[in-house]
Amino acid sequence: MELGFAAILRRDLLLAFRHRGEIANPVLFFFMVVTLIPLGLTPEASRLAEIAPGILWVMALLASLLSVEGMFQGDYRDGTLEQMMILPQPLYVMVLAKILAHWLVTGLPLTLLAPVLGMMLSLPEAGYLPLVLSLLMGTAVLSLVGAIGAALTVALRKGGLLLSLIVMPLYMPALIFGASTVQRAVDGFPVEGPLAILGALLAFSLLVSPFATAGALRVSMHG
């Protein structure tokens, strides 16, 4: 069982390394959009600080959404997905490996970049740690939830829009509690509450998503 998990994780990370340009897309998008905000809205530090928590979270969410479509697409097109589905190993374990690889190359870099961008938006000091913590868990939730949508739409020729429609409502809880974690920290309130809810969301999606994704892949491949 660990065999398939490790093999797929290693292969996906190697592939990500080969396609560095593609992988950098979400991170670049995140970077560019957030740099544009002060130019387009106002360079005034106090006003930027007000909107920074929300902006950072919304943009991280969109950046993650950008990358989720490709999660199974490559494997579907070259036939490796077909092969993975008839391995004598549980599909959800392999799916979990793919999701982890996806998070490592999108969610994690986004999380690490966020404090730098927070500085650009003059995020108050109290917000940094909660920002990183909430994104660390939140982006993992986004990868897990996005995988279900990606699996459902993998066989469709132009599934991008449909994918966004399926996944967006499911992203909302993560966005609401993620952004409010940072906002509360900035306003001087305790953040344990929303962080705990994010943790619960993560635990729940970790349990459900691999099974749902594996099921969705079966449905897609039978079509």
Binding site: R10, H19, D78, G79, T80, E82, I86, L87, P88
Partner: protein, 225 residues
């Protein structure tokens, strides 16, 4: 070509049976009542015109598709009950090569070996040399020709220990010499007690090959239209 020595137990012969398989899609019956019994040493060629359901049937045999009705039996056991056991004994090569384009043939093989614990002991270089890819071990697959990519995919036949091979159009894009070598490999696998099911439009130079013609099973064609 290297011969893949070993390794499944030839003492107990293998058996694979298709019982009354049928497939219906969008209210159209693609085929019905396909029944074949195969044992160690059998090579079955699935024939029929384009669109008659060859690929569908092969995918059904790999359990990637479930039949509308009918069953598969592996060693006398219903496959839907003992799927894992059956899949351990199965190798499938589909239309799509199942190669990662940005990885080299060798990296693709390494990945396959990691996923399939029961692969043989030849080194990757030996396997690739014998499949005709010497000197291309480190070239990314997208730089290889169609025939070379097919060969890279076929390299899995040399490292697997699965007795049942299901091959969908394995001869596509392969040159004449390669076709001969592949035929020899198939014969050798059958002689070792394997079971091979393949679809191809080529006339194979293999004696004692069994043929399954899908047109024969096709009902009155699209009666609704």
């Amino acid at each position: 070509m290297l011969s893949n020595t070993v390794l499944f137990n030839t003492e107990s012969p293998n058996s694979l049976a298709l019982k009354a398989l049928a497939f219906e899609r969008d209210d159209r019956l693609l085929f019905s009542d396909v029944s074949v019994s195969l044992k160690s040493g059998d090579i079955l060629q699935v024939e029929g015109p384009n669109g008659c359901g060859k690929t569908t049937l092969l995918r059904m045999i790999t359990t990637a598709l479930s039949p509308t009705s009918g069953q598969l039996f592996w060693q006398g056991q219903d496959v839907s009950r003992a799927r894992q056991d059956y899949l351990q004994n199965l190798l499938f090569l589909g239309h799509l090569p199942g190669l990662k384009q940005s990885l080299s043939p060798e990296e693709n093989l390494v990945w396959w070996r990691r996923l399939n614990s029961n692969s043989c002991s030849f080194s990757n270089n030996e396997v690739l040399a014998s499949i005709g890819l010497k000197g291309y071990e480190d070239v990314p697959c997208f730089n290889l020709s169609a025939g070379q990519q097919r060969r890279a995919a076929l390299a899995r036949l040399l490292i697997t220990q699965a007795p049942v091979w299901v091959l969908d159009e394995p001869f596509t894009a392969i040159d004449k010499q390669g076709v001969g070598e592949l035929e020899a490999l198939l014969i050798e696998h059958a002689a070792r007690g394997g079971i091979i099911i393949l679809s191809t439009h080529q006339d194979l130079d293999i004696k004692s090959i069994k043929r399954l013609s899908l047109t024969a099973n096709q009902p009155a064609f699209r009666e609704a239209v």
